[in-house]
Amino acid sequence: MNRSVSIVCAALAFVAACGDNPKPPAEGPPDAHVQPPAPDAPVQAAPPTRVKNALVTDSAPSMSAYMTGVKMDNDVIAMSAETKGSSRSRT
């Protein structure tokens, strides 16, 4: 079977439209960008992102989690779970 998979990722700060009220008050400003969910709206889930050794992930282990399925430390990219990073400026 011909199967295709796309994953679209971004470091999004927030996703407002999904949990927003689909019916803004009539007296409010125009809010045409807020649409009610379509019947075939995408399914939703909420992945926690914390890493093995920190509450807040840096970009290396956060993307590695999606690309390798391994939960690792900050400062470590796509390595085995026990790999230790060296502290440096994080992005």
Binding site: R3, A11, A13, P42, A46
Partner: protein, 212 residues
């Protein structure tokens, strides 16, 4: 890759155009394909605490998702949209609904107005404040907020405005946040994505979509 707000379309393709091109090339493979598209400039703009840039790049990301949805066959293709982490940007105050940001309307980039009276909402010092703020970032008033000029919608909606932060950092070094992110999926195998799941589970579910 420039911020979408600064992009010259005659010199640089949009994220949507790059997504479409990538699908055109990859979909020729009879074995299927895997494509990862990152709206990476959203993250850069948030590290420098410039919401106008970050939100414009979020629109570019949204356009790329729409382009992908319009191109693939969802009966044999899975599309997953998520974030690898959040940032410390928050929505302050019980702000009145603002509508879309336009040339005339600051929208979410403006100051907090009371939802009932429409008047400017004020902090403990009697000063207005912006709807968007950061847990940490490069702009924090040294001393009383009342000792500096009051903010205006014009100031806070500028491309290079850095909203006020609780903890002062060096420029460009606002940190990621520790909140759960959102994931949306549609197409073949999308119903496997449901509820709260550790982020490494996403890898397993995407792999399953191929059938291995």
């Amino acid at each position: 890759m420039t911020y979408d707000l600064d992009r010259d379309p005659s010199k640089e393709p949009s994220l949507a155009e790059m997504t479409t091109k990538a699908i055109d090339i990859l979909s020729k493979n009879p074995n299927g394909y895997y494509l990862m598209v990152e709206g990476g400039r959203i993250d850069h703009a948030l590290h420098e605490t410039t919401p106008r840039r970050a939100l414009q790049d979020t629109v570019a990301f949204d356009d790329a998702i729409a382009a992908a949805l319009g191109k693939v066959d969802l009966s044999n293709t899975l599309i997953v949209v998520t974030a690898d982490h959040d940032h410390t940007m928050v929505i302050n105050g019980y702000a009145k609904r603002v509508g879309a940001t336009t040339a005339q309307n600051p929208g979410i980039l403006g100051l907090v107005h009371d939802a009932v009276s429409g008047a400017l909402s004020l902090d403990v010092e009697g000063m207005p404040y912006s709807i968007l703020g950061f847990g940490n970032g490069e702009n924090r008033v040294a001393g009383a907020r009342a000792s500096v000029a009051a903010l205006t919608d014009e100031i806070t909606s500028a491309e290079m405005y850095h909203p006020e932060a609780g903890v002062l950092m060096t420029p460009g070094n606002e940190t990621h946040g520790g909140g759960d992110v959102m994931l949306m999926a549609t197409g073949a195998g999308a119903d496997r994505f449901h509820g709260t799941m550790v982020n490494t589970r996403v890898f397993a579910l995407v792999k399953q979509a191929y059938g291995f």
